[in-house]
Amino acid sequence: MLLAAFFALPLAVLVVRAFADSWRAPALVPQQFGLRGIREAFSGIALDAFASSLVVAVIGTAIAVAVGWPAARVLGERRLRRPGAVFVVLAMPLLVPSYATGNGLTEWLLRLNLADSITGLVLAHLVLVLPYVIVVLLSAFGPRVTVLEDMARSLGLTPLQRWRWVTLPAVAPTLAAATFLGFLVSWSEYGSSLAVGGGRELLPVILLPFVRSDPQIASALALLFLAPAIAALVVAARAARSPL
């Protein structure tokens, strides 16, 4: 119970603050409840930012999984002679600040006419999302999956059938975890979103200024910010349990 309270209480206050139109010190409960924060959070600019964040995170994660799958497979099956060098290259984007990556990409995106675009944001997020997806996904591949696929081949399954009925169910839990982590990294990303976003702001970028100016709107936006992350967690947990 103590542990539950320690982890849940700090976040529960966001719900109360989002619905508190008036909550002056030293009162422990709000003087007046209302929907001002929620109305603002669901207004035009916030909803646009929410939609942009969602599109960028979904597309970025889908590309990262598609591109990361073969890379993770090669690494997981230890087919490389010198995997150390590949791991160092993979780790680099995690060591370099995302704001630095975004900052460095800005000039390229301007030249390619991709500044302030969804494509530009997806590219910037991919730099971070891809290493996470590969590192998590590679643990799914190895002798266990290879043996299962060999058995399926000997039973006469086509490559597509093997992928659909053997490989995918075998890696489903790890694939779900990698997809969830990729979505979360993109959804929460602030540094490169700020550097590259410019005229197309994502949700975390519009949330931050409200923390000092209007805590009620900040709390309402925070709830809006949390919802897809929780939804992704639920979806990933279900996908991990049942064979796809």
Binding site: L3, A4, F7, A8, P10, L11, V13, L14, R17, A25, P26, A27, L28, V89, A91, M92, P93, L94, L95, V96, P97, S98, Y99, A100, T101, G102, N103, G104, L105, T106, E107, W108, L123, A124, L126, V127, F180, L184, W187, S188, Y190, G191, L194, P204, L207, L208, V211, P215, A218, S219, A222, F225, L226, A229, I230, A232, L233
Partner: protein, 256 residues
């Protein structure tokens, strides 16, 4: 990786080609010189590295203690401990302001906090937010590494007469060292480069290196981008250097 390489090249190019320089002047190290001549930048380096080291040590210590406590417990407790993992950093920072700022909930409940925790000069609020957010991530890594095999190896060591301290040193530590160091490097690098948490709960001065870079772009249109790129590249160098030190430090005498 191509995009990442391009981004790094872009940052390097930006750091040596400020908009204030004439086109014929070519590359210049003016921004780097200005950076190291700025006392605020030195303060930023000290503040950022201090934050990263303290946060990483506190997070790994907490995570190790919680993982050792939870490894023989049920899945419900493990799920509770991993609750903050899907919660974005910025959201935890917003909750920290509501709880810990002057006039916040903790202040109201306790009738005053003994020390400043939000926007304090030492960045205590930043460390608290990171520990709350990152420790569960490390706990998950450690619990995955521990597994059932570790319990069996510990039992075997106990049968052979190893004390709890000896089992911790010679059985548990070699198992968790790898994932712990890997997780610690990720946490340390994140703290060095992220700035949504410092912007929310950190002091106005000193600022972290990422905040310094962000302010540089806002303060000067002509040289700001170049100064920011140089500051961010320097942050990346610190992150890589700390990662190399951590990996070397974590290697055992057998080279594992």
């Amino acid at each position: 990786m191509t995009v990442f390489g391009g981004a790094l090249l872009g940052a390097m190019h930006a750091s040596v080609t400020p908009l204030s320089a004439t086109a014929s002047a070519g590359a210049t190290l003016d921004s780097w010189r200005a950076l190291f001549a700025d006392p605020a930048f030195e303060d930023s380096i000290a503040f950022t590295v201090k934050l990263a080291v303290v946060t990483t040590l506190a997070t790994t210590g907490c995570a190790l203690a919680v993982a050792l406590m939870l490894r023989s417990r049920g899945t419900a407790l493990r799920a509770l401990a991993s609750l903050p993992v899907p919660v974005p950093h910025l959201l935890v920072a917003v909750a920290a302001v509501l709880w810990l700022a002057p006039g916040g909930l903790a202040d109201r409940i306790l009738g005053g906090l003994p020390l400043e925790l939000v926007r304090d000069r030492h960045g205590i609020g930043i460390v608290l937010v990171y520990v709350y957010k990152e420790a569960p991530f490390l706990v998950l890594l450690l619990l995955a590494a521990m597994g059932r095999e570790l319990a069996e190896r510990e039992e075997a060591a106990a049968v052979l007469g190893a004390s709890p301290a000896q089992r911790l040193r010679w059985v548990v530590w070699p198992t968790v060292r790898g994932p712990l160091v890997m997780g610690a490097i990720v946490v340390c690098a994140f703290v060095l480069g992220a700035f949504e948490v410092p912007l929310t709960v950190g002091p106005n001065y000193p600022v972290t290196l990422a905040e310094y870079a962000s302010q540089a772009t806002q303060n000067d249109v002509l040289t700001g981008e170049s100064l920011a790129a140089a500051a961010l590249l320097f942050t990346a160098i610190i992150a890589i250097a700390l990662a190399v030190i951590a990996v070397r430090f974590a290697k055992d005498p057998q080279g594992a």
